[in-house]
């Protein structure tokens, strides 16, 4: 009833519903003053951002700015050099392995390449987390798995092996596996990369539908501005080790900052250089001739 009343409101209703009904803080994930480096290369410097409960939050930015690294920090595949990564108010760096694995049961992660277990069928891939973490009878597992596969349109492919799937199908199976345990948080790592327009459209639709239907907090890492904007409630643009801009997709499109404008509109010229740092072109070519 409350959901129905909130539906017409501009604010995402899930956030209000959750906050009012369960008295939980709005911020499900929070990064506070995070520094992270790989060798001599600084990826993040003083990065702070929050991801609100129930939202679809997009993390965007040019290639190589650390979007996937950000997901790895949230799931503690990596630990920051400085600062805190809080999930539901808990600093993930302080968790023991058992606590971390309990937390990870609340996550669903869609990897860039699907990361399906190649020696298992589609059915067994989706059943894998359920078998590992529950003692449900096989008949019930079968129902759950077929339901999840039906949700991504691949119930008919249950007996296929991962090698028999196209890229888009593999991504959808991975999505079914990611939601198999009904997670609180879904992390998508470049879900639209390398897909044909039809598969991409299906995945975009699924991201929105799953988020709404299962009341999941979603974090979508992508540089596909157009498609992410269609599903995101809130966006962050990451560049130069920090947050370059944040806001709703509409706000970001209207953003006048040179970097954000270049990124959001895909302009070839701007502060983000197309060429990787290199010595002067003419000097390098002529120098080689002289040698």
């Amino acid at each position: 009833m409350l959901r129905a009343l909130l539906e017409p409101l501009a604010v995402p209703h899930r956030r209000l519903f959750n906050t009012w009904s369960r008295n939980l803080p709005d911020n499900l994930i929070e990064l506070r003053d995070v520094d992270f480096s790989r060798g001599n290369r600084t990826i993040f410097r003083n990065l702070s951002l929050t991801i609100e409960r129930g939202d679809v939050t997009a993390i965007m930015g040019p290639s190589g700015t650390g979007k996937t690294t950000l997901l790895q920090l949230i799931t503690r595949q990596l630990t920051p050099d400085r600062g805190q990564v809080l999930v539901d108010g808990v600093d993930v760096a302080t968790l023991s392995q058992a606590e971390l694995y309990r937390l990870r049961q609340r996550f669903g992660v869609l990897f860039q390449n699907g990361a399906l277990l190649t020696d298992m069928s589609v059915f067994e891939n989706v059943a894998f987390p359920i078998r590992e973490h529950t003692r449900l009878p096989d008949s019930l597992i079968r129902h759950v798995v077929l339901t999840k596969l039906h949700a991504v349109g691949l119930r008919g492919a249950a007996e296929l092996m991962p090698a028999q799937l196209s890229g888009g199908m593999a991504r959808r199976v991975a999505l079914a596996r990611a939601i198999a345990m009904d997670p609180d948080i879904l992390l998508y790592d470049e879900p639209f990369v390398g897909l044909d327009p039809i598969s991409m459209g299906v995945i975009v639709k699924l991201v929105g539908q799953i988020s709404d239907a299962l009341d999941i907090t979603s974090v979508v890492v992508s540089h596909d501005v157009h498609d992410v904007s269609a599903v995101a409630d809130y966006c962050y643009v990451i560049a130069d080790g920090g947050v370059a801009a944040a806001g709703t997709p509409a706000e970001l499109k209207a953003e006048s900052t040179e970097l954000v404008n270049q990124f959001m509109h895909g302009l070839p010229d701007g502060p983000v250089a197309f060429h990787y740092d290199a010595p002067d072109y003419r000097e390098q070519l002529l120098g080689a001739e002289k040698d």
């Binding site: 996550f107 990361a115 399906l116 277990l117 190649t118 590992e132 345990m181």
Partner: protein, 256 residues
């Protein structure tokens, strides 16, 4: 001076890897009881994978190695009119040394490389990361069952290799050169005692641990690229071979 520095750096690197490998081995051992009780079917499958699927190469090799041993022993002993003792040399050689060593080397080439490349590819395609994100520890699900599979399979394969080797030696000495069948087997039984068998068993167990540890370690720590997996697979064969020959010498020295 620069050479000395390089040698020292290489030595320190070797110690680092050895230390990390020992810690990895410690984790494998620590998780073993849990895996045996909770994931017994995975262990059984890996025994089949490492053991049963290596049977053909082990049996064919055992037959030829035994045959060559019979040939060499007969041709040498014949000079002293002692060809009746061919069985002793074939038996002692196969049970105490050649059986376990050859089995371990063949295991490294067939099952060890398969384990390394399988785990390496799982790593390169994010399957291990996916397991971690599903709160399933890949050490318990992937590494320990494969390690135990190798440890269990090696003594069984060694026993089969040795038995087939003795048969090969018998075929050459008895069927081809006409050594008396009674003498062949009786001399072997008279000279060999249980210590010889224990030595063979000890070696096969130690080699099983070493070969499986190296294979799983290399796969688990391979660079997540095609070349990285290839290099790890090669290292598995090289490191296992050297380690097996080293431990073979050490165990032989202990038993003498």
């Amino acid at each position: 001076m620069a050479v000395l520095r390089d040698v020292w750096t290489t030595f320190l690197g070797f110690l680092q890897v050895l230390g990390a490998m020992c810690m990895f081995f410690g984790r494998l051992v620590r998780y073993t009881p849990q895996v045996v009780f909770k994931r017994f079917s995975l262990v059984v499958y890996q025994v089949y994978n490492a053991g049963a699927l290596s049977l053909v190469v082990i049996m064919i090799s055992g037959l030829f190695v035994g045959g060559v041993l019979g040939l060499l022993a007969y041709s040498s002993l014949e000079r002293f009119n002692a060809e009746d003792t061919t069985g002793i040399f074939a038996g002692l050689g196969l049970v105490k040394g050649i059986g376990p060593v050859f089995t371990a080397l063949l295991f490294a080439g067939r099952a060890g490389t398969a384990l390394t490349s399988e785990i390496g590819l799982m790593k390169a395609t994010d399957q291990l990361s996916a397991m971690e994100m599903m709160a399933v520890d890949p050490m318990r699900y992937v590494a320990v069952p494969r390690f135990l599979g190798g440890v269990v399979a090696m003594p069984l394969l060694t026993a089969i290799f040795t038995s087939i080797g003795l048969l090969g030696s018998h075929l050459v000495a008895v069927e081809q050169f006409g050594v008396d069948v009674g003498s062949y087997w009786q001399q072997m039984q008279n000279i060999m005692d249980m210590d010889d068998v224990y030595e063979g068993i000890t070696k096969s167990v130690v080699f099983g641990v070493v070969a499986s540890l190296v294979a799983v370690w290399e796969g688990y720590n391979s660079a997540p690229t095609a070349a990285g997996v290839g290099r790890a697979t090669t290292r598995t064969v090289v490191v296992t071979s050297i380690a097996v020959l080293f431990f073979n010498y050490m165990i032989t020295a202990i038993y003498i």
